[in-house]
């Protein structure tokens, strides 16, 4: 066991503060949102981005739902990291989700840290009066259903009576399923990708490791790090590192890094650093620059709470009874975080409800992250499904 693996580089502190200072396009709802936990969040702020143009019939709107650590910057340079949007391979002019045809909307989830109501935002009281401090750990627990209700308010505000499609991967896919279950007449087509109708014990277990790492960071201060001018950067980085492993596959890690050393051509048992370690440390340290620890806790909890079958009397089929929505369920062969078996559960429930469903398992060795990457079969499936759905739009 070597001891010299350097800790993840502590994040430069001001970065997250800079992120908080960025103005995000948003809508505010003074009436707020009644959450599943019983609290009314008032006002509700939903930060979002749009691409393409809404047609006169208002029939070409596609809502993209982002994953745990994603945000609304789908197809443009990210304002904090300066990197390309997280789904530019999928969304843009001439892409499978073609912004010359579709009006694409993506909102930062409730509980997030890119401008929507969430832990880093200013706390408000029951009347909506600002309290002069961030919510922090006092931000109420939210659910995937709460996130979807907030998105539905935004879609209504934008004057869109019915979405042509709702599309998302991972936690985004959970929102897609919730959309179809909650608003079956307000969404025509639904594409849940690399997701599940409930979070499994293994999924929850990995999240708990991340949460424990954050909580154990001396900079966390019980979640009141904003009061102390610190961030639990180290804990958040470890959470990200753990999670990142679950997004990849053994094959992908072997292909990318194998046992290669960063520090030299051969093992010396002294200060050796495997390339995979260095990669994970980089993933951890860049993540803390753009993400808030309390948001991470809030959103991972929302995913853990998610169980669409439980919301419908224990039967997933009930969630989609007589659903008019056209579904396309997609999984990836090497995804062990949201394995194909979980997508198959969704498909079987949809069949039991006699819903219109397509289901493809894409062969890929890239693990859960495959939905974000260059996968030609994924692109063909998405564009083909959208084309087929467009023929039946009503």
């Amino acid at each position: 066991m070597h001891t010299a693996a350097p800790a993840p580089a502590p994040a430069p502190m001001p970065d997250r503060a800079d992120a908080a200072a960025i103005p995000h396009r948003h809508e505010t709802f003074a009436e707020g949102l009644a959450l599943d936990c019983g609290t009314r969040l008032r006002p509700l702020t939903v930060a979002y981005r749009t691409y393409g143009a809404l047609n006169d019939a208002r029939s070409n709107a596609i809502l993209i739902c982002h994953a745990l650590t994603g945000d609304q910057y789908v197809a443009e340079t990210h304002p904090v990291t300066g990197k390309p949007g997280w789904w530019e391979v999928m969304v843009g002019p001439g892409r499978p989700i073609d912004t010359t045809r579709f009006f694409v909307i993506c909102a930062n989830v409730l509980g997030g840290c890119m401008g929507s109501s969430g832990p880093p935002a200013e706390m408000t009281d029951a009347e909506g009066k600002p309290q002069g401090r961030p919510w922090g750990t006092l931000f109420p627990p939210v659910t995937i259903r709460d996130m979807v209700r907030a998105q539905a308010m935004l879609i209504e505000r934008l004057g869109i009576p019915k979405l042509f499609a709702v599309i998302g991967g991972s936690m985004g896919g959970m929102q897609v399923l919730e959309w179809a279950a909650l608003y079956p007449t307000r969404v025509f087509a639904a594409m849940p990708i690399a997701t599940a109708a409930w979070h499994s014990a293994q999924n929850i277990a990995f999240h708990e490791i991340g949460r424990q790492a954050i909580g154990a960071d001396p900079g966390f201060h019980g979640g009141e790090y904003w009061r102390h001018g610190t961030t639990p950067a180290r804990g958040l980085a470890v959470a990200r590192m753990t999670a990142h492993i679950t997004y990849l596959s053994e094959e992908a890690l072997t292909r990318k890094f194998g046992r290669r050393l960063r520090t030299g051509p051969m093992l010396t048992f002294d200060n050796d650093l495997f390339e995979v370690e260095s990669y994970l440390q980089h993933q951890g340290s860049t993540f803390v620059q753009r993400f808030d620890a309390n948001s991470y806790l809030t959103i991972t909890r929302a995913m853990d709470f998610f169980d669409l079958a439980a919301e419908h009397g224990g039967s997933l089929g009930n969630a989609f009874r007589a659903s008019p929505v056209r579904f396309c369920v997609i999984s990836f062969s090497s995804d062990w975080l949201f394995p194909t078996a979980m997508s198959r559960e969704i498909v079987r429930a949809l069949n039991a409800a006699a819903a219109n469903v397509s289901f493809v398992e894409i062969t890929s060795d890239k693990g859960h992250d495959a939905f974000l990457l260059d996968e030609p079969d994924l692109f063909r499936t998405v564009s083909g499904f959208l084309r087929g759905a467009a023929e039946h739009w009503r």
Partner: protein, 214 residues
């Protein structure tokens, strides 16, 4: 390749399978149809775009599923032997199984599932009673290889072969009503022996049946 059989929208050649035409003729317009073992969706394409059918497909070969979904068809990756159980009763007007029955693990159960989830079932299969099959076995003493059955015995997915007469017998045993049936030749055309079961059993390369529950 048969002439004229191209997809209306994509212009791709539909299939060299004229028997798909014969199946499509059995399906009433604007009904709900499930095509089991739908391959790349050639039949669904005809049904959806020419008959206004609400068509779904299931297929076990993932490459074919991707192909069909990329064509805009509603197709899922599933196994006829296990996944039909998840559909509710009477979910479809027709459940179609073309040239796949002989490749299922439990053909009798698959047929029963088809007539549970659908009001009618359309089934086609290669006829093992065809004279060439009989002659090949008789003269060579080896497992017959024909155009419809072109793989060696150790490498064939066709594990439950039957003749047209066998199929009539099974329908009688299970209490299914044969509403229509056809003998089909190797080009996928109706054979002139379609009125006579014994002749069809000898001369038809495929049998095509429209069944319903009693």
């Amino acid at each position: 390749m048969a002439e004229g059989l191209v997809a209306l929208r994509t212009g791709r050649p539909l299939s060299d399978r004229l028997d798909l035409r014969l199946i499509a003729e059995m399906v009433a317009p604007r009904t709900r149809v499930l095509d089991i073992g739908c391959d790349d969706g050639a039949l669904l394409e005809i049904l959806v775009h020419e008959k206004g059918v609400d068509g779904r497909g299931i297929e076990i070969d993932m490459g074919k599923v991707t192909e069909a979904v990329a064509q805009g068809l509603s197709v899922i990756h599933a196994d006829a032997d296990t996944d039909l159980a998840f559909y509710p009763d009477d979910a479809f007007d027709y459940v179609i199984l073309s040239r796949t029955l002989q490749a299922t693990e439990r053909p009798r159960e698959v047929l029963a599932q088809m007539l549970r989830i659908g009001r009618r079932a359309i089934v086609s299969f290669p006829n093992f009673g065809h004279w060439r099959v009989r002659l090949a076995l008789l003269t060579t003493g080896r497992m017959p290889r024909t155009r419809a059955l072109d793989r060696p015995w150790y490498d064939t997915p066709n594990i439950h072969l039957c003749t047209i007469s066998d199929f009539f017998a099974l329908c009688a045993e299970e209490g299914y009503v044969v509403e229509r049936w056809l003998g089909v030749d190797d080009q996928g055309r109706r054979t002139p022996w379609r009125k006579n079961r014994r002749l069809a059993n000898l001369f038809a390369e495929q049998g095509l049946f429209l069944l319903r529950r009693r």
